[in-house]
């Protein structure tokens, strides 16, 4: 049997005296979407941050592609980071307002030392096209794009270094209804094409039922139930 893409055991996150995540365990396979659902403050976003090691958990294990992340130093984590990428709710907040879209998408490639002037620009154009953006949008800055276009740019940036896992924190909650469906379709297509695993945090029941293979409900830091939409 092969390892799951992500294997989380007994995860605990505390903020001072408050236990935000209380012994949470789950697995996620490549090509699968696991939704985390629950009211605000239930610990779903803290779980996401701990999986990404953006907030180090107090206890528990996070195995990603067979490697234990919790014992790694920040330096050891660095080469793994591009393989697990966050996409946040506020499409504008996750892109620097001063940078052009093409620079925002190129930035992770540069940070990973994978940029070269010959084929870098073509790679950026390819990424923009993959998320359904016109190549000319690369010249724009975030505020010149609509919310949906911005969220697509954020996804292009997350894809730049060939991730295996996307941690999507309410990725469509801030989008207009007529735009939301397009972004959900894009995420479905990318998953089919690239076999990505999605940890999908969302508190909209209809969206959860639409996207998820499995759903975990959280309340006060704990998992209260797990179910399949179909």
């Amino acid at each position: 049997m092969t390892d799951p893409l992500l294997d989380v055991r007994g995860l605990v996150v505390r903020y001072g005296p408050v236990t935000a995540v209380d012994h949470v365990s789950f697995t996620l396979d490549a090509g699968e979407t696991l939704a985390l659902d629950g009211p605000s403050g239930c610990g779903k976003s803290s779980t996401a941050l701990a999986v990404l090691q953006l907030r180090r958990p107090h206890a528990g294990r996070v195995r990603f592609e067979g490697r234990e992340l919790t014992s790694l130093t920040d330096r050891e984590l660095r080469p793994l980071r591009p393989r697990m990428q966050p996409v946040f709710q506020d499409p504008y907040g996750s892109l620097s307002p001063r940078h052009r879209i093409r620079d925002a998408v190129a930035e992770p490639l540069k940070a990973q030392g994978r940029w070269n002037a010959d084929d870098g620009p073509a790679r950026v154009a390819e990424l923009l096209e993959k998320v359904g953006l016109d190549p000319s949008s690369g010249d724009r800055r975030p505020h010149e794009l609509s919310g949906g276009q911005c969220q697509r740019a954020g996804i292009a940036r997350a894809l730049a270094c060939e991730p295996r896992l996307l941690v999507l924190d309410e990725p469509v909650s801030a989008l207009d209804a007529s735009v939301r469906a397009g972004v959900l379709n894009l995420l479905a297509d990318l998953q089919d094409e690239l076999g990505l695993g999605y940890l999908f945090i969302c508190h909209d029941r209809a969206v959860v039922r639409h996207v998820a293979d499995r759903v975990i409900e959280m309340r006060e830091g704990r998992i209260t139930s797990e179910w399949r939409p179909r």
């Binding site: 949906g148 007529s178 735009v179």
Partner: protein, 319 residues
Amino acid sequence: MRSEALLSVCDLRIAFGAVEAVRGLSFDVLPREVFAVVGESGAGKSLTARALLGIVPRDATVNGSVRLRGGADPAAERGRRIALVPQDALSALSPVHPVGDQLAAAVRSVRRVSRKEARARAVAALDRVGIPDAARRARAYPHEYSGGMRQRAVIAMATVNEPDVVVADEPTTALDEDRRERVLRLLAEQREAVGAALVLVTHDLDVVRDHADRVLVMYAGRAAELGPVERVLGHPRAPYTAGLLAALPQDGPRRRRLPALTGTPPAPGALGPGCAFAPRCPLAVAACHEDEPEPQAVDGRTVACHRVADVPEPIREFL
């Protein structure tokens, strides 16, 4: 104007310089109904909601008319016959006065009553929205209230003078699903209790379906469709309404892909001469790019679409 209408809007236009954001809206609000105004960002729904109370941005030019029954200007009746529940509960309460004092002041601003009487009405309004131990809580400051209680206090503020019309501008946008239901139920109850009509501005079609009697679907500052909720959402006749409904994720057998609309809602000022929805509309014909469609009565509602006569219901099959 229908004689029984509480509030009548006639050819309302709101412009910023040469850019029109609300482009000719007409509708009536009837006694005791829940009238939803739904639209996406930039559709002009919030501007419209505020214009119902005579609140407009300083740099805006307003044309057309908004009148209360009997012809009164709503700006002169704000807080008395028409009241607002704003988006941000905090902005409606002053941090430096006890909540009860603020409600009592609202009472005395429109009625010649004694301090004691105003105070009693304030406490009664807080009690009505379910604030426990209202007489004592009336003496507390807003920061001593929980978020949920503050939301209740704002609703009490809007209903304390028993207005004819309460306008709620995206009252639940910042809340999660559980709280959203509670606030909407509370608004509905309060509307019943004081016998007001409720104008509910929202971007959420599920909220409209569950809570409204009639709905105005706005697109780019105009009415795409207007009518009873079960007709407009159950059997939409405007391509925009139909496309929007089809694109919603919903229960039932899993569809991997949703029938999404292409493109994004237009920014005010970036409109061509024809129907504002034409660049995204799967049913658009040449005329759609040239002339703006006028609202017409069809099938128990009003629809602005050139093709409403030749595309039968369900139009979903044609999208």
